[in-house]
């Protein structure tokens, strides 16, 4: 297997903060928080190096932090709605700052997406009049120059207010939105050229986008700013109704493990997170097997 050529690391804030990161040369292996993850770390304390916890979970259930006391944590977020022109409330940013300090996370991962959107005139909600729509799930936005500007501006704004670097995560593309005039790779490149953020490369999302959009995932990776990749996500894929879907309860495809193997020596890569946080019939043993596969692919065993 041939490693893709990568550029030299840039002088980004992510890289300058390297000394703050408690990570070794090899990427550390983490698992997203779930009841299953809690059981796994209780019975196999050393099988992973950190847990990834969602900001939204900590807000709803602060006791979750006590259940993982003593573990290294990475904070993940789905609330900033980076593609929305309306910025999040200062109170929410304060809460985010609080959890950043509390967890000691080395960075904040956030989706390159929107989760909220303004209501059209007259589109009231009997429960929340005047409030924007809250989809409750991140959605890949229209990809065009205006969106690049909005996202970059939001990242710059939030980065000034948060004490750790922001990593932006590529979303899976299930449908192309009206107004899009560039592909996701160009979109990511232009955003990262415009602001000082790292890349959280979700290999499964990229694989899904490639399948749904009909492009080569290998070519796409070769055109990404790989020197900015700090964290990688992997999980399963499900095929349904002629579309590939993100699936946090099935095995990582061999093609995705091969991509991970190719990328394991990226200069800024610090962490690889397995996202297995759905309740399902996927057993703890199944997840453990996936962890071992990722460890093998990153040559950390």
């Amino acid at each position: 297997m041939v490693l893709p050529e990568v550029g030299l690391p840039t002088e980004s804030r992510v890289l300058r903060s390297d000394t703050q990161l408690r990570y070794r040369q090899l990427p550390r292996i983490g698992l997203s928080y779930s009841p299953s993850a809690r059981r796994i770390v209780a019975t196999h304390p050393n099988i992973i190096d950190y847990l990834e916890v969602p900001f939204e979970l900590l807000e709803q259930n602060p006791q979750a932090l006590e259940l993982v006391a003593g573990r290294d944590l990475v904070l993940h977020c789905a609330s900033l709605s980076l593609a929305s022109s309306r910025q999040v409330a200062p109170a929410k940013l304060e809460r985010l700052s609080y959890w950043i300090e509390k967890t000691g996370t080395p960075w904040l991962g956030e989706h390159l997406a929107f989760i909220s959107a303004a209501r059209p005139a007259g589109g009231g909600d009997e429960y929340a009049p005047g409030e924007p729509y809250n989809i409750g799930f991140t959605v890949s936005p229209p990809m065009n120059t205006a969106s690049v500007e909005t996202v970059s501006q939001n990242i710059r704004q939030y980065a000034r207010q948060l004490s750790v670097p922001i990593l932006v995560e590529n979303s899976p593309i299930y449908f192309r939105l009206p107004g899009s005039d560039m592909n996701q790779i160009e979109y990511i490149n232009r955003i990262l050229a415009n602001c000082d953020a790292g890349l959280l490369l979700d290999l499964t999302h990229l694989y899904i986008s490639a399948k749904n959009e009909g492009f080569s995932v290998v070519d796409a990776i070769d055109h990404l700013p790989l020197d900015r990749v700090v964290e990688i996500h992997v999980s399963g894929v499900e095929e349904a109704e002629g579309i590939s879907w993100d699936h946090h309860a099935s095995g990582i495809r061999s093609e995705i493990l091969e991509l991970l193997f190719r990328l394991r020596h990226l200069p800024s890569l610090k962490a690889v997170t397995l996202e297995y946080n759905w309740i399902s019939d996927y057993t703890d043993d199944d997840v453990i097997e996936q962890i071992m596969q990722v460890r093998r692919a990153t040559a950390s065993i």
Binding site: F114, S116, R119, G136, A240, W245, D281
Partner: protein, 267 residues
Amino acid sequence: MIKNESVMSAIARAILEPDTLELVLSTDPAAEAAERELLNDKVLYCRLRLFAGLICRIKHSFLWQHAPLTMRLLSNRGLTLNTFANYARTVKPHDLVNMSPYERSMGFLNHLDRIINQKPYAAGNLAGLSGLVKHELRSLRINNAFRRAAITVSSPDPETMARLDRGSRICLNDHVFMAGYTADPRLGLPCDECNLRAAHTFLLYAPTAVVRIDSSDERYLLQQLTRSISVNDLRSAAAERGISEATLKGFLARYFVGGRLRFHEVT
């Protein structure tokens, strides 16, 4: 050129309020251009419907604990996403936020129970899905009722599940009942729910246990016990006067080791 904010609003509305969106577009000529463009793109609109199903499914992931057999069957037949896409149109996301995992699961299973005789569920190898769904609805309801009773009733004896009433009939309250099926639904295969006379497999539902009744004598006893399930809402069952308390106790004790079922006499 449609603004990004308008597109994102239209997408959010198509996911959260598809019925309202369709109504607005069919009645309001001045509706947002982004929404009109969205609805005219059939491929996109179809994918948005499925995406709403994906979100709905993830918000119902507790079903894997509450109704694993139903979920596995839907998954094995490739029906999960479409089923949740249909269900997503019937539940308001705001309501979901305020529902407990149990309420979400019950809502979905009741929905499935209602539509089970329609395509594609009634066709081919899913013809008997109905019994399986009913089985898991019963198991979920009975265990939740038991948990709730144990938590909210200040009784020092939450395990009391049966009693003798004033009429000297032996009654089981709504925590214990029996149902008949063409096959054991716990095997994960579709099965039909039948009336007791035609059933091949009888399951006794009680808190923390679902027990298969194999002996014909026991079955007769339970038929007597559960005679009322054919005429009422399954919430109670009663034995005929001729059955002695000792017989009933002896029978139930074999299935409920550890004294989970106890009898109180009402004088």
